[in-house]
Symmetry: C2
Subunit: 353 residues, 2 copies
């Protein structure tokens, strides 16, 4: 069966491009002696997580406990959860996971440390711990090296917790500034920092220049790539493994086409640098713009497009932000040169708890 | 069990508010002799579809065939699909559905008419047909009354197709302008127009003023309401039945909090009129803004908020656009006054094909 025979809208992945992307980042990491711990939030598939590990990754990164549970169930044995664990029910789930996988957690506050400590009391194996620090994203992470040290001092008091080091997202030049102050502080306090974990697919191939101290890398999007990666200069169109296949369902005017992919298929994510440039890239109609989305309609502006797709025609779309798009779909279709080779359920979809 | 004991992030619905909203729009429609055909894209639950019909609705509206199939499976017997059916596989699915439900389809082009005609040849019961026309949204629909008549003339040639009338989204004052020209054209051509179908929750309670010719109404969001409805002056905060319950997982600075609900929980939909005002409303912290979303992190700006939530605290969020939020979650939790009364699977979630 050819992917063009699939009912639309449907997400498709070119397996050979995805595998090329896996090998390419692994080769970069090997060349620079950086350990790679892929973030599975992008593909959400045990199949690719195992391929990433066979290619040389030291384990995986997940963002939520539900993802960790489903990946552990699939046989993954080394999992980093880069999310504050808060409260007793989540602490218990973390403890349960230690029966099946080496678990490490990143935290940035005492409340989360208490939850991890509570989990560690009942854990089948020691729980690794990173302190997350801020590198300029203004999201989360301790703000100062002093706060990192203070939290680490608390952490090392707990018996079944292993302090793993410092972690940030994304890797930036500020990562190096922070480490320049933090590492001497930790040395003076006698606390070893075995791992410095950096993150993000956009800076991934620049890690050795941006932050030479990084010893382990988390990256997710690189396996599929998307329009944000192209826009950031971090991927080519040819390296985009994931596309949405959609059908033109209406041509109400000469310069407008409606496709059967709306925000429930493509998400509403825009390019942060170019929000006026619509909701995805059409490789076959590069001058057509996905100008607006309803839930199930995409409105194409064909005003600048010499070629205009007809009703019934299939169009391929590279989404702006692939990680949220895979999370909208229950199944993914894998192909080689357009020949369907697998229809996989995305069991990790929606596991936000 | 109280909903505050649920693990977060989690979608919750106050059943009494939802039922009040169902009754209120039905009462409006009854008073104005408008038939109500709720759009189920918002709740995606057979349970509420059946409640809407028991309250007086004439049937339901769906946006995709997958939604129609799952609703028919749940025992719904009158379904309007407001989407162009394109191609033989979808035509066959439409034909299959006629064994279980009275099916009506809205189309705006000849290609879709051919698909419906093909379905009608194998249908167990006649297929109803609307012509969709443009009322100012610049999405889809025929552009002129003449185009509508031309398509209707083609449609009435088919034996097992019943021409039902004209349909638009949303109902606007342009609806009346279009009908003012179209209806005499149809009368002169000897083609009856039994139903004029208008749509949209925002204009719903103004239908009799905006477009007195509308005889049937499609509305979806009104059952839950959301921040867009509040912003449009079409709902109050108290009429919002749906909320996301989230937990504060970090307080990196005095004016910043991180919640465990990001774009995979809340979607990236912004208020069209106020995109700078963030990703949802916190009824308990009205001056806090959900300023940014990562996939699993929400960044709260507490700069204008005198009260600031602490780590571990639960916060309630009214999302900007509830229809895309229900589509992100596999289950919904129903409650009465905070007491959990049901955990329902959202089987229609993700049925975009």
């Amino acid at each position: 069966m050819q992917i063009t025979d699939l009912e639309t809208p449907v997400p498709i992945v070119d397996v050979e491009i995805a595998r090329h992307n896996i090998r390419r980042l692994q080769a970069y990491c090997d060349a620079h002696r950086i350990k790679l711990r892929p973030h599975i939030k992008t593909h959400k598939l045990p199949l690719f997580a195992h391929e990433q590990i066979r290619a040389g990754a030291v384990g995986i990164t997940v963002q939520k406990l539900g993802e960790a549970e489903t990946m552990a169930e699939s046989g993954i044995t080394d999992i980093l959860l880069t999310y504050n664990v808060i409260g007793q029910p989540k602490a218990e789930r973390l403890a349960h996971l230690t029966n099946f996988a080496r678990m490490t957690v990143a935290i940035d506050n005492r409340n989360a440390l208490e939850s991890v400590a509570s989990a560690a009391q009942h854990a089948a194996s020691p729980i690794g711990l990173f302190i997350e620090f801020e590198s300029g994203a203004n999201r989360q992470g301790v703000q100062t090296p002093e706060q990192a040290l203070e939290l680490a001092k608390e952490a090392v008091k707990h018996l079944n917790i292993e302090f793993k080091g410092l972690l940030t997202f994304p890797t930036t030049s500020k990562t190096t500034e922070f480490l320049g102050i933090a590492l001497p502080l930790f040395r003076n306090a006698g606390i070893g920092v075995p791992i410095i974990s950096g993150g993000g697919s956009q800076p991934a191939f620049f890690t050795h220049k941006l932050a030479p101290g990084v010893t382990e890398m988390r990256a997710g999007t690189y396996i599929y790539n998307d329009r944000m990666m192209i826009d950031a200069g971090a991927a080519t169109e040819e390296a985009c493994a994931f596309k949405i296949l959609a059908t033109v369902v209406s041509r109400p005017t000469a310069d407008r086409a409606i496709i059967d992919a709306g925000s429930k298929t493509l998400s509403s994510d825009l390019l942060p640098s170019k929000p006026q440039e619509g909701y995805g890239l059409l490789p076959d109609y590069p001058d057509a713009m996905i100008a607006r989305l309803s839930e199930e309609h995409g409105v194409l502006d064909l005003g600048r497009s010499a070629q205009k797709p007809e009703i019934g025609e299939r169009v391929r779309i590279i989404p702006n932000h692939v990680c949220v798009v895979t999370n909208l779909h229950d199944h993914i279709h894998l192909h080689k040169n357009g020949e369907l080779i697998a229809r996989l359920p995305i069991h990790l979809r929606g596991l936000t708890v």
